[in-house]
Symmetry: C2
Amino acid sequence: MATQYSVSFDIAAEPVEVPGGTLLTDAAQKAGIEINQPCGGQGRCGLCAVQVTSGEVRRRSTMRLSAEDVEQGYALACQTIVEGDLSVIVPPQDKIQQHLTTGQSAADVSVPPGYDPFRDQTIQRISLELKPPSMEDQTSDLARLKKALRGKADLGLISVSLPVLQKLPIVLREDNWKVTVIIYRDVETGAVEVIDLLPGLTSEGDPLWGTAIDIGTTTVKVMLVDLISGEEKGQASEYNGQIARGEDVISRIIYAGKESGDQVLRELVLDSTNQLIKRACKRGKTKPDRIYKTILAGNSTMMHLLLKIPPASIRLAPYITVANHLPVLTAEEVGLNTYSQGKVICLPGVASYVGADISAGVLSSGMADTEKITLFLDVGTNGEMVLGSQEWLVTCACSAGPAFEGAGVMHGMRATTGAIDEVWINEDNLEISWRVIGNEKPKGLCGSALISLLAEMLMTGVINKSGRFDFSLDTPRIRKGSHGGEYVVSWADETEIGEDIIITEVDIDNLMRAKAAIFAGFTVLGDSVGVPLESVEQVLIGGGFGQFINVEKAIQIGLLPDMPWDRFQFLGNTSLKGAYLALLDHHDKDRVAEIASRMTYIELSADNRFFDAFTSAMFLPHTDKSLFPTVNPGGKS
Amino acid sequence: MATQYSVSFDIAAEPVEVPGGTLLTDAAQKAGIEINQPCGGQGRCGLCAVQVTSGEVRRRSTMRLSAEDVEQGYALACQTIVEGDLSVIVPPQDKIQQHLTTGQSAADVSVPPGYDPFRDQTIQRISLELKPPSMEDQTSDLARLKKALRGKADLGLISVSLPVLQKLPIVLREDNWKVTVIIYRDVETGAVEVIDLLPGLTSEGDPLWGTAIDIGTTTVKVMLVDLISGEEKGQASEYNGQIARGEDVISRIIYAGKESGDQVLRELVLDSTNQLIKRACKRGKTKPDRIYKTILAGNSTMMHLLLKIPPASIRLAPYITVANHLPVLTAEEVGLNTYSQGKVICLPGVASYVGADISAGVLSSGMADTEKITLFLDVGTNGEMVLGSQEWLVTCACSAGPAFEGAGVMHGMRATTGAIDEVWINEDNLEISWRVIGNEKPKGLCGSALISLLAEMLMTGVINKSGRFDFSLDTPRIRKGSHGGEYVVSWADETEIGEDIIITEVDIDNLMRAKAAIFAGFTVLGDSVGVPLESVEQVLIGGGFGQFINVEKAIQIGLLPDMPWDRFQFLGNTSLKGAYLALLDHHDKDRVAEIASRMTYIELSADNRFFDAFTSAMFLPHTDKSLFPTVNPGGKS
């Protein structure tokens, strides 16, 4: 057995004992401390650095640390092994903002016209008054129940799970053979399953609960729905607890491959989701264990991680999922805190990087029902897009990276309180003004501000088409920094963080790569079906991020194609809306599957056209000026 | 909170702390001591008596204790409450014999002629070589597997459970896309479920494992079967661990109604069963987790207790089960130690007291396929019987009680080593000779010896038709005891137990009630369909007990109807044999269900004819001498 060592973290209540060879991140976890690992514990991001003030450690990697840092005891917690009794200082972690503004995240849904819970819903509630048994009628409880059910409705094969059988005799006798039966209909086979029994009869209008859930890489959103009226009765959203173990899907897949990493990630997302279910239930004045059906949408990696299906093949060529179409599960199997025998239906995805969130998004966007050639775009941590109409659908995903979510940008941050979300640069004096979420002192720049800033800098000549600064301009805001050129958005004394908020050439490069990847995606999609971008009749933008994009500025930097603004429409969280529709109406659920199987997936990583298009788009707005006739960059360049 | 008291048991390693108000049986359990409760903790049998040598207790009941016993501190552990610190002496418990003789219990089965595992078996093994994925073929693992499966066999809807999905990507890549798939076919719907995946290909002849299990009130029997060859590969049997909490089904139902009694009973029978599965696997040179299918037979109470379905309604008028037809379950749901996703199929029963053991017995007896009017009889802890042929079937159960298993008889015992199993009384001197199982000194009398003894005493005039002793006879073996008349079978110095082995008038009365109940059952069955007993063309006797009955003597006491011996046939464990057949061939499984639904159940407790017939049968052999023309009781009476 390995020797045990004592590790004291400055911010922990007590030291912990761990065997020699333990990773510092694991020791910290044992001490109840969460050290963020945005890169998934690969030693790439350097953000898990801690200071070892005494004791022996072995550093596997010091990639992001200077010799001086190491001299002072700094070590990457995810790459450092305990080899003696230690004292460790944990620097303040980049705190994950605890709550999203509800206003920002709430999806706006309305009950589909003509929704009929008795026709469209797979969960049904049936009240029965049974004839009590007697010596003349010794039918078993189960046969009695089934007979009465058949008398009420035209049902197929009826099955009952063991947990329901275990409570059957008690519930039947609790209110003198009056009982409410909750059934789930399998529309495909016609089979019916009794999933719950409640003593007594129920009024027809009483609510019957379901949830639509969207599990995003960054955010989890839960919507509580009354399946009888079809109305939304409460929403809640929150960062996905997995963020601490990797900001993007790739980092998480790597983390999942570590010992019990898959279990940790599963528990983190379940914990986030179950908290949200509780919160939504509080708003809807009900309880999680009264929820009988859940529809889950999310990208393929999130689905795999939630269900603890090994996601490794998503990351490695030829980039395949274990499954796009998942079986109907119970809440117990998934680990949700809703009614244990309640149904959990995972909507189907198309491929590794075009998941159920996109199938659901296409459904709720309506693009699969229109004659108009439509471009559907979901820019989140990845950039997924679908081109098509009711006739055909092609889709692809570009690893745009999370730059537009603020990652990989020095002062980038998520769109929470303190984030600058819009900027304007004065053409004459190159001074800048900005707007901050929550009207506080700024802490950083969120995605919409980054687009805006890039556009403003381009249009005022602060940067040229290649994203390089014009040092000849007469402004103290343009200067040389340690990472090359930089522009000061906000002086230290104006900020919350006490340092200048800047954007560097490295940041600009990252943003240009992201926008180039997305635009190259459009190009390849159009190319693959012979539809030039200018024939696109509407552009539908989904995803939380989409809501806050300034179209004019997004066109100026070449992120969106140059077309009249009235062709653009922002749809909000199309994935959650799709899940909501599928929750209510099984026809819609089946349509998601049909849409998923109709979409032709184009793998960009294997497509030379993509690399060509990407290279051409690595300018602002583009090397081919004719694609952006309305954009006229300013300045002297 | 209740005060905590310390309870010291003389045979426990350490005292235990329990709150005031705890039952002594529960305190004993906490101390790791099992106190037998043959009556299920009702305070009826008196066998859980312990001696409290110091401290305060409250006795709810002292039914079986004399004033003197109570004076000496004796208390019924199941009825006595801790009210202070205690010292308790636990008398030696009537030890349950640990192992049945294998020779006695092994069921003799042979592979049904023409058994074809590919046609008849619901579990199939398919070896597949998949085309590996590539950038040109990004099909998901699951879709790839399903496609290859469809290429090999004509399959319906294919489903895969979550645990299988969780290992799918690992297993597919473990042996380079060669994989063996285990599927379960739902014959009714045509649906197919992938229940397991193994890396690599498998030879066609390799065994594929299943088990047939019979859960009896007294004994659990497990048979390991190779589903490919159909051959039995190992058997094991053992007392049902629930015996310690009640000898008969009624006592167990009462015990199940106590706090967590249902959980205790479930764990006891699971423990017995899982031990037996291990033992059978050892004999068959395999492991429990390689068993993919289990067929369970057993009486209705055993099925309810195993699955923790509340059995209370079985015991109370109108005596109904919660369910006779149970859903297909997984080993995980049931709690068996076989492969977690393996299928467990509970055969269907008919009613509270005619369970799956009888449906299975009727199948394996062949009575449902013959033109001959057949009486099928299973005498175990209860007496169940079926009359009929391929045209019709009627059934009933009589609460014969466990007298023929040795319970309720002073020196009765089960058929294990040391039990007298056959006796002969000399007509001239009324001396007796006997045979003992295992050739040891006798400890008591098992069921077959009790039948034999009753018959011999009747035929030699030791007792008369009413079961009363003839004290006028010149033999020291007939004497008056504390329970009325008695006959000494074995003098103290000849026995293992150091006291006379006797049979009393109370014992005889209990045995007569049991045989009268069974004979009354025959009478009512025949009566209900207008078939007199003499038209019965064959009598098939199942159940472990049946094997050892001496037909001549059983007729002499009026337990079996008086007909030529060649009409009787002993079939051994018909329930286990039926489970074996259903394990191999799904047609046989369906036939059990069909038989169960064809059987007309006659409830004797509501039938006045039964009471009349019972009263008439409370003589040896019967009040109606014409029913037993060959029986001529001897002696002077």
